[in-house]
């Protein structure tokens, strides 16, 4: 019961948090995600927290850790759907989550991730036709 399911969609991993978070659960998610990114060589991670009403310093730190560890493993993380009250509270608490990409919803998060991946590919491959980028 101490686990949040991780869904694989192509190159991406999708996590939807729908339960009250507590420290053990957040730590397990961090470990599971890192393991899974390596195992499936994921390029992007999308974490949907639209159903989460409380993000305290522990949970906030875990989100930051996931973002920086995924970067080391060559994947981008986007946190989507943060409720406005949660965002305001995090800033006042003193943990503004700098360094974590955010988007309003899953759809916008997907676009952000895809754009990031395209940009990286274009950097690798300069002579690529510019017309086939998805914009």
């Amino acid at each position: 019961m101490d686990r949040i399911p991780i869904l694989k969609m192509g190159n991406f991993l999708l996590v939807t948090i729908q339960v009250d978070m507590y420290d053990r659960l957040a730590l397990n998610l961090e470990n599971d995600l890192v393991t899974m990114i390596r195992r499936v060589e994921a390029k992007g991670v999308l974490i949907d927290i639209s159903a989460v009403s409380i993000v305290d310093s522990f949970m906030g730190r875990i989100l930051g850790n996931i973002a920086s560890m995924s970067k080391i493993l060559d994947a981008e993380t986007v946190v989507v759907g943060m409720q406005p009250a949660v965002a305001i509270t995090l800033v006042e608490l003193g943990l503004p989550l700098t360094g974590v990409h955010t988007a309003l919803d899953v759809e916008k998060g997907m676009i952000l991730l895809k754009n990031k991946l395209n940009l990286i590919e274009e950097d690798d491959d300069e002579d690529k036709d510019p017309d086939d980028s998805t914009e």
């Binding site: 993000v55 305290d56 310093s57 009250a85 006042e92 943990l95």
Partner: protein
């Protein structure tokens, strides 16, 4: 000050924290507290209850609905019988931690509530009391 409603919750393990936060939310919703104020109150409480578990191995929390000067609000008291805090002034500073952590819990919690009080005695324990008014800024 009149206490309108009161509930005591024992904290000994992490799952007690989940239950406590749910109860706190129910009390806040019942008095019609705004979502933002609820979020601030529960987040501050989450920091304090973590400290209680981490540094004192647990303790007791009292949730009260209070009415003072025409204002309605929620008061939460965190009481533990842990080692106490040697220097409260230091502990209240951003970035001070004996737990190799961010040292955000106490000062952050204070910023999120309307009233904050901390008392601690070495070898006896720590009591933190917070109040968040229903309509306070």
């Amino acid at each position: 000050m009149i206490a309108l409603n009161r509930e005591i919750i024992e904290i000994a393990k992490e799952l007690d924290v989940v239950f406590f936060r749910q109860r706190l939310k129910e009390h806040a919703v019942k008095i019609g507290m705004s979502v933002l104020n609820q979020t601030k109150l529960i987040t501050a409480s989450s920091e304090l209850v973590r400290n209680m578990l981490k540094y004192a191995g647990g303790g007791q929390i009292c949730i009260e609905v209070i009415n003072e000067k025409m204002q309605i609000g929620i008061k939460v008291t965190f009481e533990d019988k842990g080692p106490g805090i040697p220097d409260i002034h230091k502990a209240m500073q951003d970035g001070f931690s004996t737990g190799k952590s961010l040292g955000l819990g106490l000062p952050g919690a204070k910023r999120l509530v309307n009233e904050f009080d901390i008392k601690s005695e070495i070898g006896k324990g720590t009591i933190v009391t917070i109040v968040r008014w229903k309509n306070g800024l």
